[in-house]
Symmetry: C2
Subunit: 468 residues, 2 copies
């Protein structure tokens, strides 16, 4: 080794030491967010008092006490505030976003009557590209304002949905609706598959936030042969599937009459679960079927409001969690909810199983918060979000504890589950980008979206009144 | 009849005609409140588009279309606004207001364990006059901000409670807690009765908004002889009684072991229902017991959050309503809820019975809104509030429909039950007096109350941590 190389090596070594030394200059990064309480929802559900997280290029680079983060990083932007909780954004595992335009159009009805007499006909008459674009914008507005950062959507015109989700900055799995009957969007199953594949081709690997998927409606509306085709094409294209599953007793009767099986057994027999699957509802699984979901790694999305409102029933969520099923939480569409408020679902997931099982210790606050964040993210196959941990996407929210209904506070996790409302969410960040700051949404023109939504709804209202 | 009398009669007749004529001067009154939708909750559940109500001396003098009200009345003050709903204030039929200071202190526990290991000991250590005063102020702040105008409270130091309720402007039935065991407030039953009677003597007929009552805890904590004394003294003093009743299976076991009866049968046998009674919870009545409640005119207050959270169960509310029981809705205290948000209770009352009975048509939106307003007011014996009708107290709220989660709107009643949140309430009026206008509370110093509450809670938190 000659002396010139030795000198160079010495200089490089000194430089490395200097960078690693506590006396070195702080590292330049994009963003530091601080709060009085950081509820990380990491694998140990760590809570850090006076904590902060460092974010660069949309990724969390450190989660620690404020003093340590501030000493180590020099951010372009800082977000801080008194009396706030920093936590992962909420993961809405099942919705039909654009259906906010049908919010409250038909209440207090049973699932099949609601679907066949009100929703399917309204969809045929009113759902077009503009409906989906404006409806999804309105839904994103509501979701951002309520602290949702990731959403699994299933609806028509998925290219419109994906474009809106991309523009407004949310993380989304966009499931292209696949049905057999004619709709305003597709003529038949083949047409639905063609359109879904065209969408998937366009969005696959286009944007790290938008993940395309197939969304066949349900086992009672699509034949086994066609469901097998969906699974085959999904696996060939390396995308997942979202489906409604075992939602109501009426579904069990339809599937039983046609195929002599309950829904989950039926899909297991045709090999439908051989690939990533997100199953919404799962209200009526047998014990054996719960084992199938667990063994196949199917994510089960609990939608407590919708399941009660259309009287589908109470999903056996603690039982599924105990059996190792990956459970997530969802709002369903606003036609059966009637909002996209994940805090309502959190509270209900904590309450209803205690009431149903007469067991006050089931679904404790922390477990519910898990299915709304880290566990819910895993259930939809997005392990890279749902918690505040190094290397994860910077998807996070700041919740204010200032409102009277949050005073006093003894336990931050209890407050997040049992007392916080959507309107307490102050700031929302996805992929390191600020979507809402101090309740001002930055990625959508709120007044324009609301105005456009009201214009469409006025048209729908007028037509419905004229024909009833 | 002589001509002078005739002339006088003619003049008087002309004067009457002039006053009744549309060309006469408008009548001077205190207040007119207008809104795009007036959901009156009167006996016919009338909804008036572009409606208004006229208020004078705290009483509703007219409810009609805006054009008619504006032509007829000349108010000192007008409250109007775009895109709002005017409706009666919510009636919270059961709470322990001051317990907001125990919000989230012990979650995910069964009723008896929660009561005996956490709540009773905490009450003995921490509940004093200051606790009750500040706690009740904080609760009133939260209730006003959420659109509650009438509340039934049961707690210690009722003189403090009544004073705070009077000052902040709410309508309240204040039940003086009567227990047998020693507490920080009373030594034994006789002491509790003396203090309750002193309170009732002080507040009976003092203020039309504050109604004193006895509040014996429950059939499993007070002996039959003492319950008979409470009933006797209540009837002698012409006041009502509020009590916890048939709340949990654990209660049924205790009452059964002691008296060989279920709670309601037990109280019926000792004549406890012979006088105005407000029964909180009523989760486990038999069919025969439901008939007793109906026949005796006992008001049954449904507390869905609390009943699920401490796993008491699901009260048979549709069954009670069908049997003619006057049912109201309540939050219970914030130690078992963990907030005083009546909109949560409204939604739950609409959802859980659909889920439990697998009947999507049970507890439709309008029926739920009734038990939160007019029917709930009747259940607590206050027929003079709970609806917007001529002659009733002017207890009303304005709800904004501006937020994204309320866009679009097809059905105003559906929105109030299935989508509105506490924070959508803009303006609250009780007895014709404005308690909150455009989300600014006028009768309490919000920041001072929150500061005082946090100071007390910090002391409690420190002591609990030191002894656990």
């Amino acid at each position: 080794m000659n002396s010139r190389i030795s000198l160079w090596l010495l200089l490089i070594s000194l430089l490395i030491l200097a960078l690693k030394s506590p006396y070195a200059n702080a590292e330049d990064i994009d963003l530091v967010v601080s709060a009085d309480y950081v509820v990380t929802m990491d694998d140990k559900n760590t809570v850090i008092d006076k904590g902060a997280i460092a974010i660069d290029n949309g990724i969390i680079v450190a989660v620690d006490e404020q003093a340590l983060i501030n000493g180590k990083y020099s951010p372009t932007k800082r977000i801080a505030g008194e009396n706030r909780v920093l936590m992962p954004g909420l993961v809405n595992g099942h919705t039909h976003a654009a259906m906010v335009l049908f919010r409250g159009i038909a209440d207090d009805l049973e699932l099949m009557e609601w679907l066949t007499k009100y929703i399917f006909p309204a969809e045929i008459r009113f759902v077009n590209k503009e409906f989906v674009r404006i409806g999804t914008q309105l839904a994103c507005l509501e979701m951002i304002r309520g602290g949702t950062t990731t959403v699994v959507d299933m609806y028509f015109h998925p290219k419109e949905i994906a474009r809106v989700m991309e523009e407004c900055g949310l993380r989304a799995i966009v499931g292209a609706a696949v049905i057999e009957q004619e709709s305003g969007y597709t003529k038949n199953f083949a047409d639905a598959m063609n359109k879904a594949e065209s969408f998937i081709g366009q969005w696959k690997n286009k944007n790290n936030r938008i993940t395309p998927a197939f969304a066949p409606h349900a086992a009672y509306t699509i034949t086994p042969d066609n469901l097998k085709i969906v699974r085959k094409r999904a696996n060939e294209l390396s995308v997942g599937i979202a489906i409604h599953l075992s939602e109501s007793k009426a579904e069990l009767k339809l599937v039983g009459d046609s195929y002599g099986e309950t829904s989950i057994n039926h899909l297991e027999k045709i090999g439908f679960f051989h690939g990533p699957t997100i199953a919404a509802h799962v209200v009526w699984p047998t014990k054996a079927e719960i084992s199938i979901l667990s063994a196949r790694g199917v994510g089960a999305i609990h939608n407590p409001t919708s399941n009660m409102k259309i009287a589908s029933g109470f999903a056996p969520v603690p039982e599924m969690l105990d059996a190792g099923v990956a459970v997530g939480l969802g709002t369903d569409g606003a036609a059966s909810n009637n909002d996209l408020d994940m805090w309502d679902e959190i509270r209900l997931a904590a309450y209803i199983h205690k009431g149903r099982l007469l067991d006050p210790e089931t679904m404790p606050a922390l477990r519910v918060l898990e299915i709304a964040t880290r566990v819910g993210a895993a259930a939809i196959g997005l392990d890279d979000t749902g918690s505040l941990a190094t290397g994860k996407h910077a998807d996070l929210i700041l919740v204010s504890l200032d409102a009277a209904h949050l005073v006093p506070m003894y336990d931050v996790v209890s407050h997040l589950v049992y007392a916080v409302d959507a309107q307490d969410v102050q700031t929302v960040i996805v992929d390191g980008k600020v979507l809402m700051e101090d309740r001002k949404v930055l990625t959508l023109d709120e007044q324009e979206v609301i105005k456009a939504a009201r214009t469409i709804a006025a048209r729908i209202d007028k037509e419905i009144r004229a024909t009833r």
